[in-house]
Symmetry: C3
């Protein structure tokens, strides 16, 4: 009986239309996230056009990135007049509403929770759409399906550096590949699952996977908002994978230059302290790698670069 109910629920979800309520929720939450970026309010007062353009990138970034990747017109979202009008109206109300009514109401926790949950539902649709679109062009390529599903669902985040450039902000030291945020991670996971399902490697019906994935993302998002926690549900798995495959996720400490010997004399070596905050080292620091030692997590001093004889 329970399973029948879930099956009906999955049917209902699969037939749900994102337009207009879920789409509007996605616009509201995205544009509020933009507004809370440092400097975004100033940009809205200095140049409404730049602010509008940024907002459209937040709302439709996935479609733009997917278009770039598949050589389809990145302006295609602009041709969908109804959605653009809705998004522009949302942008105007969030940034310029008299007495700031819309932002303050939407920012109240109950309503924000509801809107964020609805936005998570649209994520499922986007990833699914991206995977199907890629399957149409590259029938057998799992990687392209994952890439396009990921782009469609998390394009706004992946394009973050360039969206910031529109607002006059440039932060090259970080991006979503170097330091992946939770939404981008969960979208990548969804893209992999939906691609595996689409190519029948994952023996699940599509609507069942949609239901499972949507419930997972909505529940996690709500939990994180209610508890104020930023701990990712993937932390344990990531840690295990890193330790097994990638010699641990520990910070890697450089050594004084006399201790650094590359295993042959053909790499440029210099020392640079590598901070623990997930940012890449400066452009002029490189590490020598001793031939017979793995980098061990936590090991920092000269030992890790001594050549073992």
């Amino acid at each position: 009986m329970e399973l029948l109910r879930l099956d009906e629920l999955s049917h209902g979800l699969a037939n749900l239309s994102m337009f207009p309520c879920f789409d509007v929720a996605h616009y509201v939450v995205s544009i509020m996230a933009l507004r809370e970026q440092p400097g975004a309010l100033e940009v809205s007062r200095v140049s409404p056009l730049a602010c509008w353009f940024s907002s459209m990138l937040f709302c439709f970034g996935g479609a733009v990135l997917s278009g770039i990747m598949l050589a389809e017109p990145p302006v295609a979202p602009l041709s969908n007049s109804t959605n653009i009008l809705l998004a522009s109206l949302t942008w105007y109300l969030v940034f310029y509403c008299p007495m700031d009514l819309v932002y303050c109401c939407a920012a109240m926790l109950p309503l924000r929770l509801l809107l964020s949950g609805m936005k998570e539902v649209t994520r499922t649709w986007k990833v699914l759409g991206g995977v199907a679109q890629a399957h149409g062009k590259y029938k057998d390529s799992l990687l392209v399906m994952v890439a396009n599903g990921w782009a469609k669902g998390a394009g706004g985040g992946l394009l973050r550096n360039f969206e910031q450039l529109v607002r006059g902000v440039w932060k090259p030291e970080t991006n979503e590949l170097l330091k992946m945020s939770y939404p981008t991670k969960v979208t990548l996971m969804g893209a992999v699952l939906f691609a595996l399902q689409h190519t029948h490697y994952l023996p699940l019906k599509k609507r069942h996977l949609m239901l499972i994935y949507t419930v997972f993302t909505v529940v996690n998002k709500s939990r994180m908002m209610l508890t104020g926690s930023t701990s990712s549900p993937f932390a344990a798995i990531e840690s295990a994978v890193y330790k097994t495959l990638f010699a641990g996720h520990a910070p890697y400490r450089a050594l004084p230059s006399d201790g650094n010997k590359a295993c042959v004399d053909n790499g440029t070596t210099s020392t640079k302290e590598f901070s623990k905050n997930g940012e890449a080292g400066s452009p002029d620091g490189a590490q020598g790698r001793p031939p017979k030692e793995e980098a061990e997590p936590g090991e920092t001093d000269t030992a890790s670069c001594k050549k073992n004889d």
Copy 2:
């Protein structure tokens, strides 16, 4: 009689060929503008290839940007060998002519005025071409027509950050969306008008609109060059629109951090003085917005961020 003459004139303008004289004028003026950029002469001595590439972006940036937007090959301008040869010859003469003859002659006011006027005429053709091209792909989408017309006519300016990157210059704090120059504004206006005319919202014949728009741009450009003025003819309209819709274009001043309270505790807030020069604030400044107050032009002190109970 007057109207008949104007109609004939509009016919003549509509049938005028841009090649070769008007195109060459556009190349000369564009490349002279590049040469007057800080650092461009050094680049011409260090790397003629980078200088040539920049010049081609100045000359054909509109076609490149339009190609990127509509998923057509951005290298298409390179296939038009005659135009590329003319542009390259112009580049060579402007930068490397013995005794700098070409630059100094073209920079004399009477000749520069004539060439700039002819360049303004090519602007009409580019915007029109962009609007028509977009109409061919997206029949009903006004926004795509405006975007493509704008890109075709002002692509060089819109791509400015990346053209500067070719020359080793990187100025992320400003771009044409944040601080629109006069050519970009007038091109946007033209794109809107031609798109409205193309979709029959504007009850004007195409050649009449071409004549009106061309006369407007040529006359304004000449006036600005002769008077040395930089005041835009749109200043009054912009100011009115801003005050009505976007709560004024006044500088927005940040407050000491203890005065900054967002209306809910979920935005990052810090203080940063926001300068009046139209540049976006630094990446780490954000403003709290009190729930019941509009940002009033000129109001700077703590009052604007007090929470009203």
Copy 3:
């Protein structure tokens, strides 16, 4: 007899398959070059995904750039699963092999020499492929063929700024157009030769040109690796061309501002010392150009900007 042998050799070369050995050699050498970039090892420990993405850009950058230029999907390399798997395996072994075996073995001079030679052979194939692909789209355009051949063969280098951005590094002051490295130069030369041959301007059979070009690149690369020299074989030709056409490749020195007079009062001029290291000057330095003087190599003082009456 000698000629017959060479002809047979050229036949053999033309029918040689790059997959899998030559392709793998290209991946190994490319990813080792990435690893030797400052900061790359840290990125590999912080974010294997960013490291993998960078490696794919090093390996397939040419196909990506060519796709962007010709409006074909830049993700197309991802659809070639076998090559992506090989490249990913190479990436994993070069960065994460226990005891760093793979990197240290491949870095030993004899093996590195062999792998680099094999990579040079793949260069010929890429340039040729790029020229043929462009010829398919733009039958008569020599420039597009050169551009696409160049992009396919040297795309990794041309995209260097953006590959660095993936790793959190941003160096706008230099790029391959401003300061071309040897691989990029030799690829450009190859693209020009193959384009001329393809359009029958160069009276050589394709397989003969392939043989000549491949032998040239392999021999030069080996010479440079064995002698440790960085002197380009093109230095003399470049110097002659510069002196003839581009008023010399000498450093260009700015002057004190009172000495700087543009030949008309319409350029912004300021002074900035332009260093000799081939980098473009800072954004706020421009040079006045006296109307009757060429910039002479070595001439630095006020004389070069005096207005001659």
